[in-house]
Symmetry: D2
Subunit: 240 residues, 4 copies
């Protein structure tokens, strides 16, 4: 999956989608509702952002993922998106999980930044218990004392999840790294450890991104990384 | 504030309210909606629990606090409660915070278990930004590697919050301790450090509690603690 | 105990000792060997520092504590000091602990910055197992994600240690706070929680300290804090 | 590097060395001095263990690594070992680091379990500052709240160290995992991320190990892992 962090404008989104498609990524992620630490930061384009995502889907023929932050907006978001995303801050927003469970649509459930693997799998149970088994788990780093990366990517959680759960597992190395130069090594690591997918932030022009530009790959870096990942995947018997 | 963790039954709630009132606590807290890690745990009595709380308020003449977990239930909960509570898991549920901000009602905002003080104060901004300045901050322990207590009560956050914010600050030592025998020392500590209130779990019969019995004080332990806290408060120039 | 962090010069040490003595502290702590993160930082005055400490002891009639960092320097340090200190970095330097155990001299064992209470008590066993039961435990904060204080003072460890060990327990709020303005609230908290002593950094002129000046109290702040602590101690049935 | 955690007996060590040699590992690690949390646990065979290691070196023609825990034993250990190891607990035992610096012998410096990358590189400075530049850094997991693995392997530290230091970096996935079933995925991850070597625990009969048996690979599992790692290394342009 290729992923600009936030939908900023039509131009930015179409450029990102084009890059992602060419490099072989199979899903487009874009944030229309952005839950931000402060109420005074850019909050996303909301419904206008969803519409742009739907246009990109049609034009490039790739499914789109977007975050839903309120249990009462599940229906609205599903009018435009193929896959829902529950962010780390909402991993234990049980009202939201239950509503998504009822929707029966595929969902990416990000791990809370201080959630244990057990709490994460138990949060997934809220969706599964409603009869929706299309849950994709997404590791995105945990909060520790180490400050040279934004979060500590918990690579040990990969074999633990594979041992205790049948759910597919993807990883978002961009959030954990916090800096584009650290993303490729972390992406290679988790592919070798056996994850089922990656969520990597790409921006047509990272320096001009409104949100999280520093952790976004440029189109050429993204394309190069995709090439480098292919032999690693093959070496553990998988294909990209 | 005295506080049974969850409203279980009329009998349990009235017994708790009576104990709390006698010991001099000024507010009754009870959970009607209980966000639990697993969907298969006791989830609270929901609206029936709210009605019981309202009855206790009338009978004992003390205001009640209860948790709200969904932005669309703010109105419902306010029909019965005097003060809302946002739990640690929902500290960054921005849709919920915004709705509470609009309600203009007093709210207790618990610190997320891995939130920095800065993130906590910034979450409070979501409520303040809607024009609701009746926000009470509540420290309840952070997640660390230490496992002899359920959470590590961050006593250092008290002078930090007092330095950077004008909002009142209370502490919930019961959740942090995880065991009733550790609650009194932690309660005394935070009173001496200058907090504006305490949220202590009390259960008429802790051994029979459906939720968190081990961390609840018995009525007699609660009454003794209230007596012991009084001279500490006085020694820093405050009164209980 | 009053405590300049490092012995810098005769003048600085005597001024500090005088202040501490007047304010009613009963022990003088000073570092002669300073274990520093970088080899290029000030490492202490070493044996010359020990001699200054011994002079202060004689002049002011108060016992002195100083840190020992190498198992082969235990004898040397004991020529000058009354009480040894094992720093947080050396909590699991088992060769050092064993040597101190054999010396039969009193020792302050600081908690490692990521040690559990269990590991800390087990490290104390290395001293006790050699027949030396004069061990004083010292809590100084643990490493967590919170960055508004230097370390998170684990106030919950106080009742836990009191429950599982008979050893005396003191607290060093200065290291945990990292800033003088936060020290008083933290000191009051731990006295109310029942600790047996405090280790507070004092510097005759904090702004000119070579090490950790920002966390040191000035003489007048130290004197005021000692006065404020007295009624809190009395309120839990103890005396300073 | 293949590595039985502790030297237990001649038979055990020779069996392990044979396995490791056959599977293509180039270094034998064995602990003669074992720093253990409790004084009542198995502490290693000490000098007798060193002699066994030297015999294994001669018989199988592979260099040996062993831990040194006291600055005054550096000379003794160097009589038998080719490479020294400083354990996580001693990462900031500056007396030990300085002595190793003076010895001019190669040393593996393990990261402290709550050390930041910066503190780790700065600890290495204590060795480098004495003119010994043969320092190998070893990541072995950090302490976090997650308890499904023994430590959280900080895969993000790999590109960070590669960015800020020219020192070679190896990883010990066995300690981080705490369970043999998690070791292969973690080993693959760090090879793909670009580390220069691995330190993997192997025991001829893990179920009978005196120390850390659960995290040791059996000889056949070790051989299989070595085979699986080879194509991953090749895919990033390196060889095992």
């Amino acid at each position: 999956m290729g992923a600009p962090h936030a939908v900023e404008s039509e131009e930015q989104l179409m450029a990102a989608a084009s890059v992602i498609k060419k490099a072989g990524a199979c899903i487009l992620r874009g944030g229309a509702f952005k839950p931000r630490t402060s109420p005074f930061s850019f909050q996303g384009l909301e419904e206008a952002g969803l519409e742009l995502l739907a246009q990109a889907r049609e034009r490039f023929g790739i499914p789109v993922v977007t975050e839903v932050v309120d249990s009462h907006e599940v229906g609205l978001v599903l009018k435009y998106a193929d896959i829902l995303q529950v962010g780390a801050r909402n991993m234990q927003n049980f009202a939201l999980l239950t509503e998504i469970g009822k929707s029966k649509h595929p969902v990416i459930l990000k791990r809370g930044l201080s959630a244990t693997v057990t709490e994460w799998l138990t949060a997934a149970d809220y969706i599964l218990a409603e009869g929706n088994n299309q849950v994709i788990l997404c590791e995105r780093g945990i909060r520790t004392f180490e400050d040279s990366t934004r979060f500590s990517l918990d690579v040990g959680s990969i074999p633990v999840v594979k041992k205790f759960s049948h759910l597919p597992l993807i990883v978002d190395p961009s959030h954990a790294a916090g800096h584009y130069s650290l993303v490729p090594a972390m992406a290679k690591a988790v592919v070798a450890a056996g994850v089922d997918g990656l969520l990597i932030e790409v921006h047509p022009n990272p320096k001009k991104a409104l949100v999280d530009g520093l952790q976004s790959l440029s189109p050429s870096d993204f394309a190069r990384l995709m090439e480098e990942l292919s032999p690693i995947a093959k070496s553990i018997g998988r294909y990209i």
